[in-house]
């Protein structure tokens, strides 16, 4: 094919064949990139093991959905769509950019398979893609520089603002788009001027617009423009490649892997060390994460992958109420430390010896502030994990004895008595004394039963929460379930013990409960406490199937075994608050709602933050004992959200949520205007 302009592969600049640059730029670019990547790999190699090579089909599915499909991006609509445009544009244009690099050496190079119709279609598409990316960059830059959404802000304690880097990269992308289009447009404009065959440019695309503007420009100028655009593109392309691993745009490279290796199971906590069985834990020298390399390689990959989008912290209840935790900066501080300890420049700088993380980049209060609600992980568009990191850091602190005094007391009580209040074991079943006469619950230590009701500590001992136990038993009994409890044999499920990093104490609880449950001979387990539900279902092994009372209710209402009376125009407006350990961690969203809707005439509204966007009530288990620094209570915010939704009754399905909500109603001064009730209590009230 004949062209009016000389291609970069043939061009001479002051007697120098430019093809030299076409060869040197990629060579140097790739060499520098390889060097940087080798250094970046070092901490991954030195990091703790992680088992992530299982369930490949599921992982490929995740890649297609979360990475390629950008599934989580539209949760923030504008930013999400802008990102999808840039992401899609990048994918499309990467082929073009690679071709361009080779074309600098071999003028007529065509990417294999892109010769015929496909190539034409591709060219058409990529013109629009480049245009769309440029527009998206402009919107993104406007948002960054002018709109400045709050979630991008960097509080001073976390260091410098990231806007400059973001704008710089948007500039690089725009440069790529413009130079690519100019390179093409200059050639087409020249060919059109001299009457040669000209490539068809997609109408109104960037390249087309440039071409229209260049039709009257002299061929000499076009030649210069053509060569300049090419090398600007070439340089920018390789500069960008080497720039990516230096900051938050590393995610362009790592996100694919991060999504592939992202966690699959819900509600679980990583083992203390992958490859070490529970019974071998005693042999470990050290527990948890104390220094950088104690993190698993996936968790360091998480640090690399954080795009600094701020969605995690924007949804983090701890961050919202002013606790000293912002998950985004768990990642960013981690990444900054990796970069500092594994320096790229100057060449040959030795890696730094790691220091204790707590007290240097992370603070004790920061790590204790997390309620493990999971909102951050739910939101992260590329599958970064936080709960496991927090738990690992807590394990490290527990191992070093760094536990706040407020938590030491309940932990000691759990060790001695199996409940955080240190109440006597023999009183664990005292709540059954107040059951109505027609409601029976067996003592599994004395007689067997088909089903086990696992009560857990708060429902067993807290005066107010015992009502949940009584309501649950009444429902089970009315539905005809043959049910018993473990009584003093039951210990705390340990859901929070584990999540607060006291793994060995959790293991003790788990062993005692497992023995008691298996010895009881119960065929299935029911609980009204989502924390117990989560622990038994996800942390324990070899137990009979576990069901939450909301699932039991939904199932038995459907089958007709439970019949409910109507709301009888009680003129109340109900809203359902999703407990973290029922919803986000176990995907039980519909059953509690179905149970509520089975009460005929009950008026129910949804809060803006519902289902997987639910806002944590303040946390359960040991979190009740922790005294965080905070500006306000999570529960108060949640109660205000319910009020904003027009509700005057908050229904929840977790004793801890109920504790926090009832407290919050008092603190918010909404007594008499708002009430909180457990789902089991409400259903028990409406049993026909």
């Amino acid at each position: 094919m004949e062209n009016a302009l000389i291609a970069p592969a043939k061009y001479f600049f002051l007697f120098m064949p430019t093809v030299i640059f076409s060869i040197l730029i990629p060579l140097m670019g790739v060499a520098v990139f390889a060097y940087i990547m080798a250094i970046r790999m070092a901490p991954l190699v030195k990091a703790a093991p992680d088992s992530r090579a299982d369930r490949i089909p599921q992982r490929i599915y995740n890649v297609v959905k979360v990475w390629l499909g950008q599934y989580r991006q539209p949760r923030y609509m504008l930013a999400g769509v802008v990102h999808i445009v840039i992401f899609a544009g990048f994918l499309i244009l990467s082929i073009r950019s690679c071709s361009l690099v080779v074309m600098g050496i071999f003028e007529n190079f065509v990417m294999p398979g892109f010769g015929g119709l496909l190539g034409d279609m591709y060219n058409f598409l990529k013109d629009y893609a480049a245009t769309a990316v440029l527009i998206a960059c402009a919107i993104a830059a406007f948002r960054r520089a002018v709109v400045k959404p709050a979630r991008y802000a960097v509080p001073t304690k976390y260091g410098k603002d990231h806007t400059v880097e973001a704008l710089f990269v948007l500039g690089l992308i725009s440069t790529l788009m413009i130079s690519e289009s100019l390179f093409e447009a200059s050639s087409v404009a020249a060919n059109t001027q001299v009457g040669l065959h000209a490539e068809f440019l997609a109408p109104l695309s960037l390249a087309w617009l440039f071409k229209q503007g260049l039709l009257s420009t002299s061929v000499d100028t076009l030649q210069t423009l053509h060569i300049a655009a090419y090398y600007i593109h070439d340089l920018t392309f390789f500069f960008f490649l080497c720039f990516l691993p230096l900051g938050k745009h590393f995610h362009v490279i790592t996100s694919l892997f991060n999504v592939f290796f992202m966690r699959i199971d819900k509600g679980t906590i990583k083992p203390v060390q992958h490859g070490i069985k529970d019974e071998e834990l005693d042999d470990l020298e050290s527990f948890g994460v104390k220094r950088l390399e104690d993190f698993t390689w996936k968790h360091i990959l998480d640090f690399y992958s954080c795009a600094d989008c701020g969605r995690c912290s924007d949804n983090c209840p701890a961050n919202t109420v002013g606790r000293p935790l912002s998950p985004r900066f768990i990642s960013i501080k981690g990444r900054d430390l990796v970069f500092k300890n594994y320096p790229i420049y100057p060449y040959g700088t030795p890696f730094k010896k790691s220091e204790d993380l707590i007290g240097s980049i992370y603070d004790e209060d920061e790590i204790w502030s997390c309620t493990t609600c999971g909102a951050c992980e739910q939101e992260c568009p590329i599958g970064i994990e936080y709960i496991d990191k927090i738990v690992d850091l807590r394990r490290g602190m527990v191992d070093e004895g760094m536990v706040p005094q407020s938590l030491q007391k309940p932990l000691r009580a759990l060790e001695k008595r199996g409940n955080p209040w240190g109440k006597m074991e023999k009183k664990r079943a005292d709540w059954t004394k107040d059951l109505p006469e027609d409601v029976t619950v067996k003592d599994l230590a004395k007689e067997p039963a088909e089903a086990l009701y696992f009560v857990d500590s708060i429902t067993s001992y807290d005066d107010r929460m015992q009502a949940i136990g009584q309501a649950t038993t009444a429902i089970l009994s009315r539905a005809g379930a043959d049910v018993g409890i473990l009584g003093k044999q039951e210990k705390d499920s340990g859901n929070e013990i584990r999540r607060f990093g006291e793994e060995m104490l959790f293991q003790t609880m788990k062993e005692m409960n497992t023995d008691a449950i298996l010895n009881s001979g119960a065929k299935h387990i029911i609980t009204a406490d989502p924390h117990a539900y989560n622990a038994l279902k996800n942390d324990y092994q070899g137990l009979p199937p576990v069901e939450h009372i909301s699932q039991f209710i939904a199932r038995n209402v459907k089958s007709g075994a439970l019949r409910l009376t109507g709301a009888n125009g009680d003129s109340k407006v109900y809203t359902y608050h999703d407990p973290c350990y029922l919803g986000r961690h176990n995907d039980v969203y519909d059953d509690p709602r179905a149970a509520l809707d089975a009460i005929a005439g009950l008026k129910r509204v949804e809060m803006e933050r519902c289902r997987d966007r639910s806002f944590c009530c303040g946390g359960g288990g040991l979190m009740l004992f922790y005294e965080p620094e905070e500006d306000q209570r999570m529960g108060v915010l949640r109660v205000e959200m319910a009020a904003a939704a027009g509700a005057n009754v908050i229904v929840t399905a977790c004793p801890f949520c109920l504790v926090n909500m009832e407290d919050a109603i008092k603190v918010a001064g909404l007594e008499g205007k708002m009430e909180a009730i457990d789902l089991a209590e409400l259903i028990a009230k409406h049993m026909a």
């Binding site: 407020s406 005294e627 209570r633 407290d663 008092k666 603190v667 007594e671």
Partner: protein, 322 residues
């Protein structure tokens, strides 16, 4: 019966309330005892205190020396060993000074130490029978102590009704010359005053005092609202200060402030003796607690069995209305 001595603590020229309690306790050991008070210190204050306690004690031994400017227990112990007879019975108030002094003194006198006594039942031969408390006051015990070789008896402040008869008409003897060698290996440096808070709870006639029953830092507000409605001040027990929910200056008790209000509302306070030790002047005490077994109900004038988080807002509203 051996001689009975009482060690008098004093500040700024005034004897501590315990001075009258010790003489009352001595009478329970031996109704006819001629009790000797020991007053130690330096300067005019000592003379003042010695003269004052002479009204209640048969005899007062006064030691007025520069070396006794601050009554460090080590120095006092040395002095007492120098001047007391071997089988003396020494009564000491079980305050922070008495706890420093008593146990070591008993060893040096080779006598018997009887700790933190809340009641004296009498002497049977050489056996003194007393009442003590264990497990933070949850149970009491009867204890016998062999006082053949004398005894050092630490008496809980406030446990004995003061003998205010002032009928002893005793004499003061200046025994400064007998003090002997007082060099010790512990020296007093200074007293670091507790930080002064935003309010002075010792000046308030009405205190709304909160304890463990408040459950959470945010709930302090509930008590503050009641206090505002009553024109009172919020004070608290030790756990609240330990939790850093209120400043140390708000704490009532032996390790906190001593208060003399007219009315004391104990809200969710169990009523340990350390706490009650900070309440003087026999105020009208109202106890609000959901645990009817709480010891506070023993010392309160009026008791209400209720959760303070429910009850206090009701009371606040009613007061605002009236």
């Amino acid at each position: 019966m051996a001689d009975i001595y009482a060690y008098i603590t004093h500040t700024a020229g005034v004897a501590d309330d315990s001075a009258l309690e010790l003489v009352a306790a001595a009478k329970k050991i031996d109704a006819n005892a001629a009790v000797t008070a020991i007053v130690i210190g330096s300067g005019a204050d000592v003379d003042k205190v010695a003269d004052a306690v002479a009204a209640s004690y048969a005899k007062v031994l006064k030691f007025n020396l520069d070396a006794l400017a601050y009554p460090n227990a080590e120095v006092v112990r040395k002095l007492l060993v120098n001047v007391l007879s071997a089988d003396a019975i020494v009564l000491v108030s079980n305050d922070t000074f008495g706890m420093d002094l008593g146990p070591g003194l008993s060893i040096k006198l080779d006598s018997t130490f009887v700790a933190d006594v809340v009641g004296i039942e009498g002497v049977d031969g050489t056996a003194l029978k007393v009442i003590r408390q264990e497990y933070s006051g949850m149970v009491s015990t009867h204890v016998t102590a062999d006082i053949t070789n004398g005894a050092v008896i630490n008496l809980r402040p406030g446990a004995f009704a003061p003998d205010e008869s002032q009928s002893a008409g005793g004499s003061v003897e200046d025994r400064s010359g007998d003090a002997g060698d007082l060099t010790v290996k512990r020296t007093f440096l200074e007293v670091v005053e507790a930080e002064v808070g935003d309010v002075d709870i010792t000046k308030s006639d009405v205190l709304v005092s909160v304890g463990r029953g408040i459950e959470d830092e945010e709930n302090i507000e509930v008590a503050q609202e009641l206090a505002d409605a009553m024109g009172a001040v919020v004070s608290c027990s030790r756990p609240i200060v330990d939790a850093k929910w209120l400043e140390k200056s708000r704490q009532v008790g032996t390790s906190g402030q001593t208060v003399k209000p007219k009315v004391y509302l104990a809200c969710g306070i169990s009523g340990s003796f350390q706490h009650m030790g900070g309440i003087k002047g026999a105020p009208f005490i109202v106890a609000i607690n959901k645990n009817v077994k709480a010891p506070i109900f023993q010392v309160a004038d009026v008791g209400i069995e209720a959760d303070i988080l429910d009850f206090l807002p009701e009371l606040t509203d009613a007061i605002k209305e009236s």
